[in-house]
């Protein structure tokens, strides 16, 4: 007999609930921080963060800014996919930030200096990230170097490397690289008419559909293919995988190649859409890779979930720019998202807690049913 499972027992539902709980708690902490900074405007500020583009009066504007938020979501989806893919194989790809930089570096260099078309820039960017990922994987597989530490080292190396490579592409009037519209039109990503859907927002490009396709592909690879099964087995128990004849070292390197390629693809696509330019004096790795970690965990380590969590994080980050800047600062959104990841660390705890409560409730129910049955038996005996 198949027992009917309660909805609360469903793993997916539990993940969803814990993510929502994390978001709500994160928001409350953010609100408290705003209250401490300046109580009078705190409510307005948190509403501005949550509303983002909904706070614009005209519908056309709202649509345009919705497009911009989507354009910023796309690279985040790639970064979160990169993190979650590696995590499924037991590797914590904190190097996503550096791989993202390398994607940008190669793509912009080939676009502005060598004047190549967008698809070659994109492929070169992906290759750069994949190579960096491979290095990280090789260090782990053959030299037993902690992935987190080598990832961080590669982040800084990549940052300075990117600055060095893009220095010749700098617009002398500022510290940023040239805008592609002015210097490298051939490298602009095609929009396929998507821009017209969003009130002619030229930053809405094929990057957005590509991100969603990538999420679906990663989901298929992980859940529906032999490769995905092998990779996950390697992550769960390296020795068991080895014993079953899987090539564990190859799997680790391959995972990091894919993860690196994904993060770099995000970076290349974003900068080839010309939305932002690279600051060649950048002294910190862009936060995108780190936010990818947030998005991956908030999305319950599910590729499809990461689409929504990426959107949410971008939404509040962009919304952070809308707070009353004379009293608050935009980083309040970063603050909220880092609180959310901190809380995501407790997911396991939340789940065990929930299951324990359910177990107890069930035990009570069974005990009560048994007591009722016994009472009935007694009555039956008496009659």
């Amino acid at each position: 007999m198949k027992e009917k499972k309660s909805l609360l027992r469903n793993g997916g539902f539990q993940t969803f609930t814990t993510s929502i709980v994390c978001i709500i708690l994160g928001m409350i902490v953010g609100f408290l921080a705003l209250l401490i900074i300046e109580p009078s405007g705190a409510w307005g500020a948190i509403v501005a963060v949550i509303k983002n583009f909904f706070s614009y009066p005209s519908a056309a504007f709202r649509l345009q800014y919705f497009g911009s938020t989507l354009a910023k979501t796309a690279p985040l989806i790639f970064c979160s996919l990169s993190v979650l893919f590696a995590y499924k194989v037991g590797l914590f790809n904190i190097g996503a930030a550096g791989q993202y930089c390398l994607g940008i570096a190669l793509a912009l260099y080939l676009a502005i200096i060598v004047q190549l078309p967008w698809y070659i820039c994109l492929l070169a960017g992906i290759a750069a990230g994949a190579i960096s990922g491979a290095l990280c994987g090789i260090l782990k597989a053959f030299f037993n170097v902690n992935v987190v530490i080598s990832g961080i080292m590669l982040n800084w190396i990549s940052l300075y490397g990117t600055n060095l490579l893009l220095k010749p592409a700098m617009d002398p009037s500022g510290k940023d690289t040239f805008r592609l519209v002015n210097k490298a039109k051939q490298a602009l990503l095609p929009t396929l008419g998507l821009d017209k859907l969003f009130n002619k927002n030229q930053y809405v490009t094929i990057a957005i559909p590509l991100a969603i396709i990538a999420a679906v592909v990663i989901w298929i690879i992980l859940d529906k293919t032999k490769l995905g099964y092998e990779l996950k087995a390697t992550g769960n128990n390296l020795n068991a995988a080895k014993y079953c004849g899987m090539k564990e070292n190859r799997n680790i390197v391959l995972t990091m190649v894919i993860a690196g390629g994904l993060a770099a693809m995000g970076g290349a696509l974003y900068y080839l859409s010309d939305f932002e330019q690279w600051n060649v004096n950048a002294s910190a790795v862009p936060g995108m890779g780190f936010n990818g970690i947030a998005a991956a965990f908030l999305g319950g380590l599910n590729p499809i979930g990461s689409i929504f969590s990426s959107y949410f994080i971008t939404h509040i980050t962009v919304g952070g720019g809308n707070v009353d800047l004379s009293r608050y600062c935009a980083q309040i959104a970063d603050f909220i998202s880092s609180v959310i990841i901190y809380l995501c660390g407790f997911v396991l705890f939340f789940k065990t807690f929930m299951n324990k409560r359910l177990d107890k409730a069930e035990e009570k129910k069974i005990a009560r049913a048994r007591a009722a049955a016994e009472a009935e038996n007694k009555e039956g005996g008496n009659a």
Binding site: N146, I149, F290, Q331, S338, V339, F346
Partner: protein
Amino acid sequence: MLLLVQYTLVFASVLLLVALGGCISEHSGVINLALEGIMVIGALGGALVMKFLPYTHGESSQFLMFICVLGAAVLFGVIYSTLLAFACINLKADQTIVGTALNMLGTALATVVVKSMNTAISPDDHSSEIKYIDAKKAFLTNVGDFELNWFMIVAVIMLVVAFVLLYKTKFGLRLRACGEHPQAAASVGISVFKMRWAGVLLSGLLGGLGGITYITVGVSTWKFENGVAGFGFLSLAVMIFGAWHPFKIAGAALLFGLFRALGNVYNGFDFLKALNIPSAVYNMLPYIVSLIVLAFTSKKSRAPKAEGIPYDKGMR
């Protein structure tokens, strides 16, 4: 040349302090990836004191300033590390995720605090910088041409204290037992939770000290948006290279400190200047060196056996 020695020693002090923190925490069984964030928060504590405590030249004022800055950095570091301890020890959370979250939170929190403070003082000021030009002089003493940073002495003291604590006391033996085989430790009546809490709080103390030392090297303003540029992680590399032993860590810290210092002072050497290598390469140097060193030293790692695994009473 003297300048190179000076910078090497002071960067080595930073790395040594933070790596000792990581070392103690790992010996208790918790991987402290949040050192980067702890450094930022410790630096924030110290910088706030330097900004608001009035300072006049003179020995007593100098000493008071030093003690207060030190105290604030330690206090902030320890308080911040409770977030890690609570999550990783009591709630058995994944130490990598929590550590990463705390690193991001450290920078975000410090930026929010400093920016809102600056904006509150003057509404047009949206920077995330704290200036401490005068106050910094409190703990710098010139010995001839050599500028002695008092934190170098603190680092040396801490090195000795850490060694004695870990290898010459009952507490240290118990702490290390919890990192090697917590179930065995528990079976002879040691409270694993308490020992791990002690390990993490001590690493918060040392991380905070490292943070305040880092922001007094060569600069007198700090932009908190930038965090501490991966120094927390460099320290972990130093710790691994130093095979989790205080004195070996000290040696590793000197080596890494040297490479980091080259980036600051390479202009002072004619032959290095003549090579005309872009500054970005010097900036990369410590990270590249650490990667290479890690590749050669990680294979036969002497990490505490139970590090990174939450303690579960039921597993014996």
